[in-house]
């Protein structure tokens, strides 16, 4: 499964990519913000893992943009963020986030969420 990892922190991208590799996701593309991510959604991306707070285009706007485009509307999207306030969660759900992980995370939690949102019964893929 080809994943697109979006985070403005290069360190965090490498950590997410490593975590993905340990759970069997080896095909990974990276982007530093939402705008760059949109240019990388070429139809081959099957999963989006995005940070929330980013310059230029944040994670929430990216999710809204992906959901409004018929080509990417059904992509499973995982939000990986430090934001843990209930209002944030509500906003994420309303924007169309498929699942939500708090930083710092473990590869096990990442796997659990990715399995949930990529399963055929999830209605995301």
């Amino acid at each position: 499964m080809k994943c697109l990892v979006i985070d403005d922190s290069a360190t965090m991208r490498r950590i997410v990519v490593n975590a993905l590799k340990t759970i069997g996701y080896n095909d990974v593309v990276e982007a530093g913000d939402g705008k760059e991510a949109l240019t990388k959604c070429d139809g081959t991306i099957q999963m989006v893992i995005t940070d929330w707070n980013m310059p230029i285009m944040g994670g929430l706007d990216l999710v809204k943009s992906l959901r409004s485009d018929p080509q990417t509307a059904k992509l499973p999207i995982l939000m990986v963020t430090t934001r843990s306030v209930k209002e944030d969660i509500l906003q994420a759900v309303e924007a169309g986030v498929s699942s939500y992980i708090l930083k710092p995370f473990t590869p096990q939690v990442l796997k659990e969420k990715l399995d949930q949102i990529s399963s055929p019964t999830s209605g995301s893929a």
């Binding site: 360190t11 340990t22 430090t82 843990s84 209930k86 994420a92 759900v93 498929s98 209605g123 995301s124």
Partner: protein, 235 residues
């Protein structure tokens, strides 16, 4: 631009002095000049003001006190600008330096971990006296755990950027307050930076991740139920 307090004070003092001189001149003038009953009336009323003669002196004293107070304020402003703003700026720069230092260190550690993983693969693949697969797996697991630990850099970086942003705001507020006492600039409105979408979360935390993730899962499920129109969430 509105006149400063010192120029208003000087103007008032000059006016009072001129009035006083006018009063003395009119009083000392000959009777022909004072034959108007209205002028007589005014002179009489003025004579009944016992403090009028001393008013310029009193005004001068008030002005001197005001000037002293203004000077004190000016000194305070200069002190704020010289020390507080400089210190705030310095602290902000230090925070930024800490942030970039931890990022560089984290990247170095990640590079080291990459090399270690490659070495484990190499060891495992080598023909002679290769360590057991179990040992390689255990080593790999340790290294991968270290990758996860490096998330501290992202979280601390966000906290530091939050603190630096706060310092910047305090610095701008202090400068604004200092400029309020600056006569040469007149009254200034508070000019703070507009709220740009933050690329950090100042409330980022490393604490209680497991329990907070559980709370988030619960909140996410609740939000999903109250927003059934979202077809993209897990079932």
């Amino acid at each position: 631009m509105a006149p400063g307090p010192s120029s208003v004070g000087t103007e008032l003092q000059t006016t009072i002095e001129l009035l006083h001189r006018l009063f003395l001149e009119v009083e000392g003038a000959d009777a022909s000049m004072r034959k108007s009953s209205r002028i007589e009336e005014i002179l009489l009323a003025l004579r009944r003001q016992p403090n009028l003669a001393g008013l310029p002196k009193k005004l001068l004293r008030v002005y001197a006190e005001l000037a002293e107070a203004l000077n004190g304020i000016r000194l305070t402003r200069e002190t704020i600008q010289a020390y507080s703003v400089e210190r705030l700026r310095d602290t902000q720069m230090r925070l930024n330096a800490v942030s970039s230092t931890t990022e560089s260190a984290a990247i170095e550690m990640l590079n080291g971990l990459d090399r270690t993983l490659a070495m484990i693969d190499q060891l495992e693949g080598s023909q002679r006296e290769a360590p057991s697969h179990e040992m390689c797996d255990a080593l790999r697991s340790e290294v991968n755990q270290l990758y996860g630990c490096l998330q501290f850099q992202d979280i601390i970086g966000q906290q530091l950027r939050g603190a630096a942003g706060l310092l910047l705001e305090v610095e701008q507020r202090v400068e604004t307050v200092a400029s309020l006492f600056d006569e040469s600039h007149g009254a200034r409105s508070v000019d703070l930076p507009s709220e740009a979408p933050a690329s950090y979360n100042p409330d980022a935390s490393m604490r209680d991740t497991a329990s907070r993730q559980a709370m988030i899962d619960e909140a996410f499920s609740l939000a999903r139920r109250s927003a059934p129109s979202n077809p993209f969430v897990t079932g």
